[in-house]
């Protein structure tokens, strides 16, 4: 008859363990909650940053200013060159007059009053719309290299492209990712340490009990399972708390994005898969920590 312990028995024993050291258990659960919240928060921020970058990449535009001296032929060459790149959606070539017209509209009416027509800037320009798949920093760098190459083409005067902003954004995302990763690892490690210590304390305070169980014929598994479940339950409690915290942060962030940045984001701020990850991750972290503790301190 090789049967494991009944669930009822395991839960009663685990509850007993919680009652044995309620404070340490609470601290473990809270540390797991904080660690998971942080992991979740960074995941949330990065997930959404990637969304922003993706959206940005879809509506990139650059202006290629052509030298005054350029002939129709030169412009056609540049256009062909531009079209070669994948993701170039549309080209719109403006003559000097059309560009001037466009600028006039942008300028203030009052300012234009006494202004000479030739004082309004205007230059032949090719407006390029690109749909770039910006998944990483490399994609931005590649785009930058490409614009530099265009700059080198004869009769191109200048290329205007907000690459620096994009690069900065990517750099920020990358720093956030690194900090988030390091912090998450540190917090998760300390959360695991707390669970590890709680379980160790439980094992030490139940040495007699563990020995007796084994003497009356309990298998090592039977003796260990309540401790493992106790660890997993601490993780689960932490995950549930983390979910509540993240839910609140999510609402807070969403209103911030809407009201302050006036962005009507269509993408989800809290991906549903994260809920699942938390529900699996919390107990897994708790279980791993208690398994380490049990493996080290519970000899049967």
């Amino acid at each position: 008859m090789k049967r494991g312990p009944r669930i009822g028995y395991v839960l009663r024993q685990s509850a007993q363990l919680v009652r044995g050291s309620p404070w340490l258990t609470a601290v473990s659960a809270v540390t797991i909650a904080l660690a998971l919240t942080l992991v979740g928060l960074f995941a949330m921020v990065l997930f959404n940053a990637n969304h922003v970058l993706h959206d940005l990449g879809q509506s990139l535009s650059l202006s290629v200013y052509v030298k005054d001296t350029a002939t129709q032929q030169d412009i056609a060459t540049i256009e062909t060159r531009l079209k070669q790149r994948h993701g170039v959606k549309a080209l719109k070539t403006l003559t000097r007059e059309q560009d001037r017209e466009r600028n006039r509209k942008l300028l203030d009416k009052d300012l234009l009053e006494g202004l000479d027509e030739s004082a309004i800037p205007g230059q032949p320009v090719i407006e390029v719309e690109i749909d770039a798949d910006l998944a990483s920093r490399g994609d931005v760098e590649e785009l930058v290299t490409w614009t530099r190459a265009i700059q080198g083409v004869t009769s191109v005067e200048d290329v205007e492209f907000g690459a620096e902003k994009l690069r900065l954004l990517f750099a920020i995302v990358e720093i956030a990712r690194t900090i988030g990763f390091v912090l998450s690892v540190v917090l998760l490690a300390s959360a695991m340490f707390f669970v590890f210590s709680t379980i160790r304390l439980g094992v030490f305070s139940r040495r007699d009990e563990i020995e007796i169980l084994s003497l009356v014929g309990a298998t090592p598994g039977f003796v260990r399972v309540p401790f493992l479940v106790e660890g997993a339950l601490q993780g689960l409690a932490g995950a549930l708390v983390a979910m509540v915290l993240l839910g609140l942060l999510h609402l807070e962030l969403r209103s911030l994005v809407r009201d302050v940045y006036m962005l009507n984001a269509t993408w989800s701020l809290l991906p549903p898969s994260m809920v699942l990850w938390l529900l699996i991750g919390g107990p897994a972290v708790g279980l791993a920590a208690s398994a380490m503790s049990v493996g080290r301190y519970l000899k049967v």
């Binding site: 009944r6 020995e211 007796i212 009356v216 039977f222």
Partner: protein
Amino acid sequence: MIQLYHVHKRYPNGCDALSDVTMRVREGEFVFLTGPSGAGKSTLLHLLLVMERVTDGQILIGGRNIHVLRDASVPYLRRNIGVVFQDFRLIGRRTVFDNVAIALEIMGLTRKEVERRVGQLLDGLRLTHRAGAYPGDLSGGEQQRVAIARALVNEPAILLCDEPTGNLDPDLGHDIMNLLLDVNRRGTTVVVATHDAGLIERYGLRTLVLARGTLVEDRPRSGRLAPIERGPAAAVGPDPLATSTAATSAGAAAFADIAEEAP
């Protein structure tokens, strides 16, 4: 049921607790194990439970050589051997009921079945009113009965008792003895380690005498078995095991499916 061949036990500190002990206890027998303090009685019981391993020699229980038993099989051997330890070894933070229930819970019985069997046994041992109490709040005699209940609840083939009447007043001691004899009559092989010469004298059962780790005497049952009487203030009820479902334990057959070490 229990066979020892030239068993030698030397503790890591160099103490020879047993040397060249050869003995045999048949199925259904009731045997006293006696000798002065330090003679090796407890050591012998610990070897039977594989709490310690022999230094030399062989031990067979129910025909299985426990010397070659895998660690993973030890729990299954122990389930067939009920033990009442000299110091009871009850779990202080669990109730009387839960202490007895352990022996069934480790086998994965349903809560309902556990409640039924523990309830019956506690009833028979007149411990029902103490079921919710903790061992620390019990008298020595009550603790002893709880320890016995735990050892008996899963109807083991063998019952080992280390000083079951020690520290008890004589009346209580006889109640316990009557209970053990009852268990034995139902088919369980019983080994009682004691240095209570009066007790041995009174019951006239087979007695193995140890001295400084060697078997010095194997006194057969005298035949003049003292009448089994109940003390005036009988703490133990009449026939506590009468309500138990299985009348007799499985005997040596219980050890048949314990896996041995692969060669």
